[in-house]
Amino acid sequence: MNPTGYQDKTVTERHDLLRAENLSVSFPFYGGRIEAIRNFSLRISPGKVTALVGESGSGKSVFGRTIMDIESASAQIGGNVLFNDPAGTEGPIDLLALPHDGRKIRSIRGNRIGMIFQEPMVSFSPLHTIGNQIEEALKTHTILSPAERHERIIEMLGLVGFAKPNKVFGMYPFELSGGMRQRAMIAMALICRPALLIADEPTTALDVTIQAQIIKLLKDLQSRFDMAMLLITHDLGVVANLADEVVVVYRGEVMEAGPVDEIFRNPQHPYLKGLMAAVPHFDMQPSERLKPLRDIGVDGSRMLAKKKAAAEPDPMRPRSDILLSVRNVSKSFTARRSGFFGLGTPEKTLAVNDVSFDIMRGESLGLVGESGCGKTTLSKILMRGLSADTGSVIFNGAEGPVDVLHAEKDDLKILRRKVQMVFQDPVSSLSPRMTVRNIIGEPLQIHEKGDAEKRTRIVEALTSAIGLERSALSRYPHSFSGGQRQRIGIARALALGPELLICDEPVSALDVSIQAQILNLLKDLKKELGLTYLFISHNLAVVNYMADRVAVMYAGRIVEIGPVETIMRCPVHPYTKKLLAAVPYPDLDRPLDYATVGSALRRPKWDAPFDDEDRPESLAHADLGEGHFVLAQRSVDARDLRAQELSARELRQ
């Protein structure tokens, strides 16, 4: 076998690489069964990308797992999956007919078929370093020496955008941010240069710049090693940029399939059309609503444990008083590992660096930024889920100001009731041994809201609002799809009707239609009940739709903050510009311009006024007016920046 998996295209007859024929998968559980996939057929051509799109919970991940024959033992599987390894000689093999975990299938898994799992957070063992876990695949399938393996891994880690691959090699998964873990996952899947890559939502946790790099990387590999790909994603932009063929599934069945051109230019099925229509655009009007496939009416007060805010003057415009004020917050993590006995000097990671901003009552503040720049850390600090090294956070709730970082007893209790969070990682934030009913109802129980009956009502109302069946209430989190779990997390955060809701990537795992449904729900609640959001997302279109103001974070600092129109339309900081340039559009005529995205290998040096020249204290926020601030050298005059910006824009037009 050719260890690189490389095969001259011209020699091989171009058979389908993988054909799934009449596949069906169902999960029996006490009191019923879930048919995750029904009579499903799909093929993947060698060297081509087949995108699998569809609603959350429609069986995409199950399909991905099934073709590798690693679906959990409780699944009942029918049909066959024929794999025709271009490097192999014996022609198509039915993967499902091979002995479970037998030698044959093992030599294919990880080696000829790589898999990127949807949930990078929990897909790594917490006891082993990233390097160790990646290396394992190499160890099993190649005969490289340890040094060669190390070299190859470091190279791969660099390729997926880690600035310091050597450091990451020795880190544990829980030390990485969501996006970093996802990249590690990608590295792991690619390390053996498989003939087929199953990429289940490979870029959800990545900011657009890195996403663009990853897309580029995948494209490169695809052409260099003739790698085929099954791309499971919600992001039609990514599909448009990567896919050759598209398969649209809905509840386990193929709705529409065809070459990417056909699908984008000539959608036929009502489901696909609805999907296309639900995509948020940058040029949407502020009052324009997203159009989900099914619109579910929302009655906030019925649904949440909160009275309608009676004297809400004008929920449309953010009220001027400050709900949360963040001042000079910093947080660093110390790697205590250096040297076995801890004798080396500890290495510090400055995750949040002197961050200050305010969140107004009733507004929604978008927070965007590079993967690993400290967004999650910051949001956890705001929740007092982590302690800050320095700085202060004041929460001005209805019951008066609370010093978040030092609140005790009653104050803390208020805080816990008024501020809620949707976790970036839906899997691990749900107690695995509680049913959905208990999970969603838990905050109500903790804060003793209403009687049992009322709680049941709220829980059920929330479940239907997030688009889950009532039967889901009695199931455990592990039996849901990624998107479903994410929605459960949202429902739980909403249950108490908090004053401030921190959403860390709340819709990253949702297809556009459910996403629209959820975003609308959040928007409605904001309008109706005056909720305030801190909205962290990589999806700029979503931010554009949801946020009143946007803060852009880079390497632990807020580099630019301002009203959403300003940031989206005339950004000043080069990073913001770069971000905007890297957004993939679900439009075949607007392919990504990889040149502007640049390489991830080295942290870029910004242009003169924005670079700290290795003296972080030399930077300060320059006020550009209308609440627009940008991080630049102290010496720089704000007016200059604005003037520069204006001229640049004129130039472009």
Binding site: S107, S123, L127, F174, R336, F341
Partner: protein
């Protein structure tokens, strides 16, 4: 890490001090003292004790002094390596123990090793083949081992070993080798006798280890990272050993501290029944006859082993789970 270890070792000092107080109290707690029980024992068989010698011993070992002084003398002595005097044997404690210590160590280690060697594969087997005949069979077998009291088990095994293989009853070796230097015959004789106590002491531990390992493994087998590992094409055994097994070792490691003491105390009754030349029977005898320095030194020795064990367990736990090592102290 080194800082942590040093600090942990420092913490051991007050712990040991506390233990020594407790040990002393425990030995002093039963009414009377060695001399009284000695006299009574002699009287029970109609003999007279050498009262005069006893009076002298009493005075020499400060039995007329208040308890705190005696405690200080004892602890002070131990610090300089003087473990006191065994009234029963009328010899310094350090001379009494003799061979017993290493035989105890031998029995304990063979038992522990065997427990592990047997328990791990069976535990893994039971977890991966839950509710197979093998799982049931091994469970049944192990639980019977737990359910039959050690002393009965010991008697039965011993009786039948004697009936069928002609193994001499009890002891760790044929008695003709007792005072002899090590030889092949003696070694063989030890082997011939060793299996009985090892089985008796080991079964309960093995069975409970199997059951707990199985329970912990069953929890881990469902985790997503197991699937990741399978997706890499690893051998199922490798997957199991590297990920879930290691994960479920947590309970096991946290227990290291008490393994040795529990093996040793679990072995005491067996050792008495089988009349093994280990420290157990001697300890029990010393406790019952209130030969306090002998008992006290034994107990302190055991305590010392425990404290070391806990230290090892703590360090191992930190080394083993990076979450504990790296995040344990992270302020929330």
């Amino acid at each position: 890490m080194l800082r942590y270890i040093l600090w942990r070792i420092l913490v051991m000092i007050p712990t040991l001090l506390l233990i020594s107080m407790l040990v002393f109290t425990i030995i002093e707690l039963p009414p009377g003292d060695y001399f009284e029980s000695y006299i009574e024992e002699l009287r029970a068989i109609g003999e007279k004790a050498d009262l005069q010698e006893i009076e002298e011993l009493r005075a020499r070992y400060g039995y007329d002094k208040p308890i705190p002084i005696r405690y200080l003398n004892w602890v002070g002595g131990m610090l300089v390596g003087d473990f006191g005097y065994s009234f029963e044997y009328r010899l310094p404690v350090s001379e009494v123990v003799g061979d017993r210590l290493w035989l105890t160590v031998l029995v304990s280690f063979v038992t522990i090793a065997l427990t592990w060697i047997i328990a791990f594969p069976i535990g893994v087997y039971s977890a991966t083949r839950q509710y197979s005949w093998g799982d049931y069979g091994l469970t049944l077998f192990g639980l019977i081992g737990i359910a039959v009291p050690n002393f009965i088990f010991a008697l039965i095994l011993m009786y039948f070993a004697n009936m069928w293989f002609g193994t001499t009853i009890g002891h760790l070796m044929d008695q003709k080798y007792l005072n002899q230097p090590m030889s092949w015959d003696k070694f063989w004789s030890i082997l011939e006798h060793l299996w009985i106590p090892v089985i008796i002491i080991g079964t309960a531990g093995t069975a409970s280890m199997v059951r707990r390992l199985r329970a912990n493994l069953l929890d881990e087998l469902q985790k997503q990272y197991v699937m990741t590992a399978r997706a890499k094409g690893l051998h199922p055994m490798k997957v199991l050993v590297k990920y879930p097994l290691r994960m479920s070792l947590n309970f096991f490691i946290s227990d290291i501290g008490s393994i040795l003491p529990s093996i040793i105390s679990g072995a005491e009754i067996t050792a008495v029944v089988l009349s093994l030349e280990t420290t157990g029977p001697m300890l029990i005898k010393a406790l019952q006859s209130q030969d306090m320095y002998l008992a006290g030194s034994f107990l302190m020795f055991l305590a010392f082993l425990t404290v070391i064990g806990v230290l090892v367990s703590d360090i191992a736990l930190a080394l083993f789970d990076p979450r504990i090592r790296l995040k344990g102290g992270a302020t929330k």
